[in-house]
């Protein structure tokens, strides 16, 4: 009994693409939306500092703007860390599904070889 390498390869490719595709859809929908939010906030910080310069009862001073920008950087780091986590999860899921598919399709053959 031999292992059909082409069939094995196709099984792995199909499962990996499907599993990673699901995970990647999640990442590609999450990350751009978060980057847009960050861009809006950074622009808002600049607006508020400009408002304060015209009228100290509105907006906030540049020193406050600097602290708020620091918070936006931290938020950006969190978004990138979340993307990293989601990517690791997608890879984990893809590997698990590929191994399961191989076991279901070829487990008996591998056992026979051993």
């Amino acid at each position: 009994m031999t292992l059909d390498m082409n069939a094995l390869f196709q099984t792995m490719l199909t499962e990996a693409t499907s599993a990673f595709g699901d995970g990647w859809d999640h990442i590609t929908s999450y990350a751009p939306a978060e980057f847009r939010k960050l861009a809006v906030q950074v622009a808002d910080i600049a607006d508020n500092v400009a408002k304060y310069e015209l009228d100290p009862k509105t907006g906030y001073p540049p020193a406050t703007g600097r602290v708020l920008l620091q918070m936006q950087r931290t938020a950006l780091e969190a978004v990138l860390t979340a993307v990293t986590a989601l990517t690791i999860m997608a890879v984990q899921e893809a590997i698990t599904r590929v191994l399961t598919a191989i076991k279901n399709a070829f487990g008996g053959v591998l056992t026979a070889i051993l």
């Binding site: 708020l68 931290t74 938020a75 950006l76 969190a78 690791i88």
Partner: protein
């Protein structure tokens, strides 16, 4: 290489393949933790209440940092508990640090935003799971909120140079950044929960 060595290597590869197939479950990242999920959602509600309350009282004695210090301490303590739990969950997880090469690319695209971000340099011994990193970033936001609230120069109330406050416009930006950081952790928890129920 001799035929015997080739045969031994092939056997080793087959044994490895068989053990992987038999195992069928690879784990790089810790599973869903409902306690972290609930705890973080509660923290999100609490921090929003603190900041909204403080900014509504900005410019008055009731809105000063001293009036809110105990609430910030409580938030810090709750985050400490969640971080400790995440560290325990993630003992065997892959390191989640930002690769230095990614950070370098980001610095070229958005230097103002990337300037103070940290990265795990190659060969660094510190290893942290993703959830631990995310919760530490939330804790960092709380620390910055306290800085925002406690320094009179950042309140800049006309005719009251010693007053501390969170100005309403600043509260909007600060909460947006804080919520986005918390939500990044909640997104990961939600993906873990979804992955385990499918």
């Amino acid at each position: 290489m001799t035929l015997k060595a080739v045969g031994r290597r092939r056997t080793l590869c087959l044994l490895l393949a068989a053990s992987l197939v038999a195992a069928c479950q690879i784990r790089f990242i810790s599973p869903y933790d409902a306690v972290l999920d609930t705890g973080l959602q509660e923290v999100r509600t609490s921090v929003n209440l603190v900041v909204t309350d403080a900014s509504a009282k900005a410019g008055k004695a009731e809105g000063t940092y001293e009036q809110f210090e105990s609430r910030y301490r409580e938030l810090d303590a709750r985050m400490g508990t969640l971080i400790a739990r995440a560290k325990t969950d993630e003992v065997a997880d892959l390191n989640c640090g930002l690769k230095a090469s990614y950070l370098e690319k980001l610095k070229l695209q958005a230097p103002a935003l990337a300037a103070q971000m940290s990265a795990v340099p190659p060969g660094a011994t510190e290893s942290k799971g993703c959830m631990t990193r995310l919760l530490e970033l939330v804790q960092k936001q709380f620390s910055t909120l306290q800085q925002l609230h406690s320094q009179p120069a950042l309140c800049a109330e006309p005719n009251k140079p010693e007053l501390t406050c969170i100005r309403p416009a600043a509260a909007v930006n600060a909460l947006s950044a804080t919520n986005q950081t918390i939500d990044a952790a909640l997104v990961v928890l939600s993906a873990k929960r979804k992955g385990e129920t499918e």
